[in-house]
């Protein structure tokens, strides 16, 4: 049984995942990837896994985004 907010979150998740692949600006892709991780963390919480949700929010939305931004600052921004 999926409620309306779950359908909204899953739809937005798929939109984010596809947008990461199609964006030409790499900094935008990294930010959208952070949004993807945040929605994934909310999904973990709604599925009853708060431990995974905390780790996903800290690693996926936090550290991965920082490391990608650091990588972009050392290389080129456009694909």
């Amino acid at each position: 049984m999926t409620t309306g907010i779950e359908i909204f979150l899953l739809t937005f998740l798929i939109v984010c995942a596809v947008a990461v692949a199609y964006l030409k600006d790499l900094l935008s892709a990294v930010i959208v990837f952070g949004a993807y991780s945040l929605i994934m963390a909310i999904n973990w919480q709604m599925l009853g896994a708060p431990d995974i949700a905390i780790t996903e929010a800290a690693l996926g939305a936090g550290v991965t985004t920082f490391l990608f931004i650091a990588t972009i600052s050392k290389t080129r921004r456009s694909e």
């Binding site: 949700a53 905390i54 936090g62 550290v63 920082f66 490391l67 931004i69």
Partner: protein, 147 residues
């Protein structure tokens, strides 16, 4: 990256992020989270500080060498805390049978040795994040200057 708003917001947010990370580490046996998740939060706060200001300001708070030492020290501390049980005549990482006191369930100090394991893992993971970031940012400059 000379943005005043980013710097002010970062300076306001970083202490609360670190406090939350320490909370997640120390309450690892009571609530969701633990050493890994809390250490990742603490490490992310340090990376955020170094990214919003610059590398010199971040290195003054936590330099690359101290971060490396903390990384190794966390792993060694975890192993030593496991060997304490072996000194007391039990298996590696034994908790209650080795004589670690278990307090009242639900209190902060109610897990015996798991508290120390969580703190050691938190040190290890948090400083590993910082070391990764410093290695990535400094890159080959560090090796070139040391040669």
């Amino acid at each position: 990256m000379e943005d005043l708003l980013v710097r002010i917001i970062c300076r306001l947010v970083v202490p609360f992020v670190q406090l939350y990370g320490l909370y997640v580490i120390t309450h690892g046996h009571l609530s969701p989270g633990g050493g890994f998740a809390g250490g990742a939060i603490v490490g992310a706060s340090m990376i955020l500080f170094a990214l919003a200001f610059n590398l010199e300001a971040g290195s003054r708070k936590l330099s690359h060498d101290i971060s490396l030492l903390m990384e190794s020290g966390g792993a060694i501390g975890f192993i030593l805390a496991g060997f304490v049980a072996m000194l007391l005549g039990q298996n590696f990482l034994t908790n209650k049978a080795a004589g670690f006191p278990l307090g009242v369930p639900g209190n902060l100090f109610s897990s015996g040795a798991i508290f120390f394991f969580s703190v050691a893992i938190g040190f290890k993971v948090g400083s590993t994040m910082c070391t990764l970031f410093y290695n990535l940012i400094e890159g080959s400059d560090r090796h070139r200057s040391s040669e």
